[in-house]
């Protein structure tokens, strides 16, 4: 059996008041310092060109989708989130997606699709929010994925800059 001998408290300690005041002093000091917390839904997260959000499809200036449904992103996707069905179009490119679904619940935002794309048609946007009332609503179809090129330009420029770093002199 162990007998714990407690410390004898002084009067100031017995009153608790000095300690309460000390604690409150911290509270009052912090009230006047700059805030570090963020009011998240009202105040959006900071986004930079490096932000790798959800993948989005590029729509060129002529209102035509850049995707030709080659299926390389589908093949590269490690989470099997992408499903594509191709079809014929009258445009010179001949082929365009008739169905392009990304299951956002499956998507792990890895960016392999962006890397695989030979037509610069899919980019990781800076959109990160993902919430809905059903799972079905989070399988995004082609209309939900389309973005004008201008909206993705920041990321496109970033990817192009990074890609240049890896290019050998002969391949330019």
């Amino acid at each position: 059996m162990v007998i714990v001998k407690r410390k004898e408290l002084s009067l100031a300690e017995k009153l608790y008041l000095p300690e309460v005041l000390r604690g409150l002093s911290v509270t009052f000091r912090k009230m006047f310092e700059p805030k570090v917390t963020r009011q998240y839904p009202e105040e959006p997260l900071p986004k930079t060109e490096v932000t790798r959000g959800q993948p989005r499809l590029v729509v060129n200036e002529d209102d035509a989708i850049a995707c030709v449904s080659c299926g390389l992103c589908e093949a590269a996707c490690p989470a099997y989130a992408i499903t594509i069905d191709g079809g014929e179009t009258d445009r010179a490119i001949e082929r365009e997606p008739k169905r392009f679904d990304i299951d956002m619940l499956r998507c792990i935002l890895c960016g392999f699709c962006e890397e695989a794309c030979p037509k610069d048609a899919i980019y990781m946007s800076d959109e990160l929010e993902l919430a809905d009332y059903s799972r079905e609503a989070l399988i995004y179809d082609i209309e939900k994925l389309k973005r004008p090129k201008a909206a993705l330009q920041k990321r496109i420029d970033y990817v192009n800059r990074i890609n240049k770093r890896w290019q050998t002199p002969s391949s330019t």
């Binding site: 030709v68 449904s69 080659c70 299926g71 390389l72 589908e74 093949a75 499903t83 069905d85 191709g86 079809g87 014929e88 010179a92 490119i93 001949e94 082929r95 030979p118 037509k119 002969s170 391949s171």
Partner: protein, 484 residues
């Protein structure tokens, strides 16, 4: 047979066949575009060049498809000299080949793509623009030609000259302006056009029906047999995401179809993909057909067959040997008569492959002792019978839907069909799997057995006929003779 050395290995080679065949037979990979084992060699693409030494002379680079093996030949397919020559040829072939693999249907099964990848030539040295040609040239009902992609191997030209023996394509114009075209720009005709899309080593000739339908690496391929005529061509069933059959393609089989198949069989997948399937089982209650458990419907079939002497079992000629045998046993067990529907020959008969007989397993059923009768005779016999059982894919279609509808109410008709049966006599119907959803064997006109493969799952609640018949046998009391 002569003895030659291929990459340091002594092998037997047939001197009447080109050297490339000896290489391929011995698992030595030699690239090829213009050579095809089913066509005569021309040596126009020059990609199959290998180094050959004979006697004391220094090694020479020759095209393997136009060289005949000779005794003592020493072949090296991987020598630096051979590689360098092949790479140069490849560079010329790629000179005008557009970089449109992302939209090309051949990507993934393209010989040019594979070999370019193998050789690792990532960058071209050419500065001139590629020649612009027509990208979407229709060659009739089946084929669309992309002139830019064509490498002028002339396989398609030789195919029409040598296999259906009716030349329809030619290389027109000269030099760098050469293109494949039909005579006088007439559309292609005949029942064998689809083969040139398989033959084409690049994506120049593609099928209109398969155009942009699927990426080939997403297709699940199963070896099966065509059921459109009694030739029973060996085919490959290719399905996308376990649901739709996207194409049938011939599988090389020298005994039956060589490398080819007819367009009639090639495009017969609409039937395999047809919607409105009969799922589970339905039984007549009052005047309405209602969904019932399969077991109950099978019991009804058993009870009806047991209660009557002299029922009639009618098979579809699409039934496999296994199904035929099970149905014959069922008929014997209940002293019922058995016959299969034998539709009249079609007008598609030709000298090459199509036999004109639409029954894929006629020989297999005949070997089981089941006789074929015309649809009219069989419906007449059914109308006179008390109990009738019709079983198999498309059996109603072959009996005549009108005649089946008008069968009298005195007959108790039971059906195993893929699609709902409309008949006044119908008592119960059970859904069965079609020819791309079940396994089995069919025997072709020459007695060669071909397998059916389950390339895709059957719809929910649908099982193969064989499974239903097994259950039916389990439910039926055994014959007394079998008990001993």
């Amino acid at each position: 047979m002569v003895k030659i050395t291929v990459n340091g290995r002594v092998v037997d080679a047939d001197p009447t066949k080109p050297l490339i065949k000896a290489c391929h037979d011995n698992d030595v990979d030699v690239p090829m575009y213009c050579y095809h084992p089913g066509l005569s060699p021309v040596g126009s693409c020059r990609i199959c060049q290998v180094e050959v030494k004979q006697g004391e002379a220094p090694g020479r680079v020759v095209v393997a498809c136009r060289t005949q093996p000779a005794e003592g030949m020493v072949v090296d397919t991987e020598s630096p000299k051979a590689h360098a020559t092949r790479r140069e040829c490849l560079e010329f072939l790629l000179k005008n080949h557009p970089l449109d693999c992302p939209i090309c249907d051949k990507a993934g099964e393209c010989d040019l793509q594979d070999f370019t990848y193998e050789e690792g030539q990532a960058q071209g040295r050419s500065h001139e623009p590629r020649r612009p040609l027509e990208k979407r040239k229709s060659l009739g009902e089946v084929i669309v030609l992309d002139e830019e992609r064509c490498i002028l191997c002339s396989r398609c030209v030789r195919f029409f000259e040598e296999v259906p023996k009716k030349a329809q394509l030619t290389v027109s114009d000269l030099g760098s302006r050469s293109v494949i075209s039909t005579f006088m720009d007439r559309p292609l005709s005949g029942n064998y056009q689809g083969n040139i899309a398989d033959l084409c080593p690049v994506g120049a000739l593609t099928l209109k029906k398969f155009r942009f339908q699927a990426r080939v690496w997403n297709l699940v391929k199963m070896a099966s047999t065509c059921v459109e005529c009694s030739r029973g061509c060996s085919i490959q069933v290719e399905t996308l995401r376990g649901s739709d059959v996207k194409r049938f393609r011939p599988r090389p089989n020298e005994q039956v179809n060589g490398w080819w198949m007819c367009d009639h069989g090639r495009f017969a997948f609409d039937h395999a993909n047809a919607a409105g399937r009969l799922e589970g089982a339905r039984m007549l209650e009052g005047t309405q057909l209602v969904q019932t458990p399969i077991e109950e419907a099978l019991c009804a079939v058993r009870d009806a067959l047991m209660g009557s002497k002299g029922g009639l079992v009618v098979l579809s000629p699409f039934c496999t040997v296994e199904e035929g045998r099970a149905l014959r046993e069922l008929a014997q067990r209940h002293q019922a008569e058995i016959a299969y529907v034998s539709p009249p020959p079609s007008a598609l008969k030709d000298e090459l492959l199509h036999t004109g007989d639409p029954c894929p397993n006629r020989r297999g059923l005949e070997e089981l002792g089941i006789r074929g009768e015309a649809g009219e005779t069989l419906t007449a016999r059914l109308a006179a019978a008390k109990v009738g059982l019709i079983a198999g894919e498309r059996v109603v279609e072959l009996l005549g839907p009108e005649r089946v509808r008008e069968l009298p109410g005195t007959l108790a008709l039971f059906a195993f069909e893929c699609h709902p049966v409309a008949s006044r006599a119908l008592r119960a119907e059970v859904g069965i799997a079609n020819h791309v959803e079940r396994t089995g064997t069919v025997v072709n006109v020459d007695g060669i057995r071909g397998p059916l493969a389950a390339a895709k799952p059957a719809p929910r609640g649908v099982r193969a006929l064989e499974r239903h018949l097994q259950d039916l046998a389990r439910l039926s009391p055994r014959r007394e003779t079998a008990v001993r």
